[in-house]
């Protein structure tokens, strides 16, 4: 039993109906660690760069949510219209 438990923590590479599957046991990660000068690429895309874009996106969304985005032009127009009307009353 001891042995079985230990085996549970062994990482595996296997075929699941012809799909290539990498698995790990309880609390065990799968890690991709290229050298410092090497990159992780998905197709032609630099994954590290894309991952940092996720954070940038999140920050920008938070900013929009807190401070609002640019004022939509129809709002600016309407405000200017009203302003003019009120001033000429």
């Amino acid at each position: 039993e001891m042995k079985d438990n230990k085996q549970l923590t062994q990482p595996r590479m296997m075929s699941d109906n012809g799909h290539l599957v990498f698995t790990t046991g309880n609390n065990k990660d799968i890690r991709f660690q290229p050298s410092e000068s090497g990159r992780v690429k998905v197709g032609d895309e630099d994954l590290t760069q894309l991952l940092s874009q996720i954070k940038t996106n999140k920050d920008e969304i938070d900013d929009i949510k807190t401070h609002g985005g640019v004022v939509p032009p129809e709002v600016t127009n309407k405000l200017n219209q009203l302003d003019t009307k009120v001033s000429t009353l």
Binding site: Q10, P11, M13, M14, S15, N17, G18, H19, L20
Partner: protein, 341 residues
């Protein structure tokens, strides 16, 4: 000399698998959970499942890799569960696990040298070679805290800087490949003494001989060469030398004068400097004196060895002074001894 580690933990080596075959696409591959192992993979393999150890690595040669198939691999059959064998018990100080050669080229050509057991294991001035496209696991248990050598080559990379190799040893691969309490250290100078250098392994003599099983010998007076673990049938020449002696040149001389002769084809000859203990009144040790030991064996009764030894003694008698040899003593397992000059 170059000393090359013989075993490997390569994926393609079928002796590393308990079923005696390299796994194929229908097979389930298992590495024991607790066995730490570094495995070199040279080519591409199909596999159904591979269970990795908790600590270990697969090193992928360029072009090497793994792929999986759906269901059975027709070229593999029904598939078996196959286990990578235990490689934990292989000892650095096991003389059977090393090959020695004078040059890297000789190592590649398979021109290996015979030597006594202590010198089969890397000596302090030797270059240690682990084959370029291979992985290994060696237990470095030693009688001392370090195992000094000149250089170590691993995966085609030669380390001769002490700090760089110590850094490698602390890397993950280093820790998987070298285990045990003693650290292999590189950066020792090569032997600078033309008369030769002591191997330095006598301190590990017991450990070295612990992994040697001696064959039974059938000769009148079995001989025990210094640094060897077993009695042999053959001959030993003990040479005392003076300033002009050059071990490498003398080894070359014996090679070209005698060992190339067809009648000596089956002869194995080892020649090295040994430190012979000096004793007061033949009992109390008070130091050592260096001499050259020539060990000659022929795998049989020792008659052939003695014939060669007599030829060598004759050569000493006529050219000894020119060669820097002051004395040569012969012991033969036939019971004959002689002390010319």
């Amino acid at each position: 000399f170059y000393k090359q580690w013989i075993p490997d933990t390569n994926y393609e080596n079928k002796t590393n698998w308990d079923k005696g075959d390299v796994p194929c696409g229908s097979d389930r591959v298992q590495f024991s959970a607790q066995r730490k192992v570094s495995v070199f993979v040279e080519t591409t393999h199909a596999v159904q499942e591979m269970q990795l150890p908790v600590d270990g690595e697969l090193i992928l040669n360029s072009g090497a890799g793994f792929y999986v198939v759906s269901g059975q691999d027709p070229s593999c059959g029904a598939g078996v569960r196959t286990k990578f064998k235990d490689s934990d018990s292989l000892q650095w100080f096991d003389p059977a696990l090393w090959q020695a050669a004078a040059t890297l080229n000789d190592l590649q050509q398979g021109n290996f040298l015979f030597s006594v057991h202590e010198e089969s294991v890397p000596c302090q001035h030797d270059d240690v070679v682990f084959k370029a496209l291979s992985s290994f696991r060696v237990d470095t248990h030693s009688s001392q805290s370090t195992i000094p050598v000149k250089s170590v080559s691993v995966l085609g990379e030669t380390f001769d800087s002490r700090s760089e190799f110590s850094q490698y040893l602390s890397s993950r691969s280093g820790q998987l490949q070298f285990h045990g309490p003693s650290a292999v250290t590189v950066g020792n100078p090569s032997c600078g003494d033309p008369t030769g250098c002591d191997c330095g392994n006598s301190v590990n003599h017991q450990r070295i001989c612990g992994s040697v099983t001696c064959a039974s010998v059938s000769c009148k007076v079995p001989l025990l060469p210094m640094g060897h673990c077993c009695h042999v049938c053959g001959a030993i020449i003990t040479i005392s030398y003076a300033g002009g002696f050059n071990l490498q040149n003398y080894r070359g001389r014996i090679q070209s004068l005698f060992l190339t002769q067809p009648q000596y084809e089956s002869i194995q000859l080892g020649m090295s400097k040994v430190l012979k203990p000096q004793r007061v009144l033949g009992v109390i040790p008070f130091g050592t004196s260096p001499e050259i030991q020539v060990v000659i064996v022929d795998g049989e009764t020792g008659d052939l060895s003695e014939a060669l030894a007599q030829d060598i003694i004759k050569d000493v008698q006529s050219h000894g002074s020119k060669l820097g040899i002051t004395k040569a003593e012969l012991q033969a397992s036939t019971g004959n001894t002689s002390t010319p000059q």
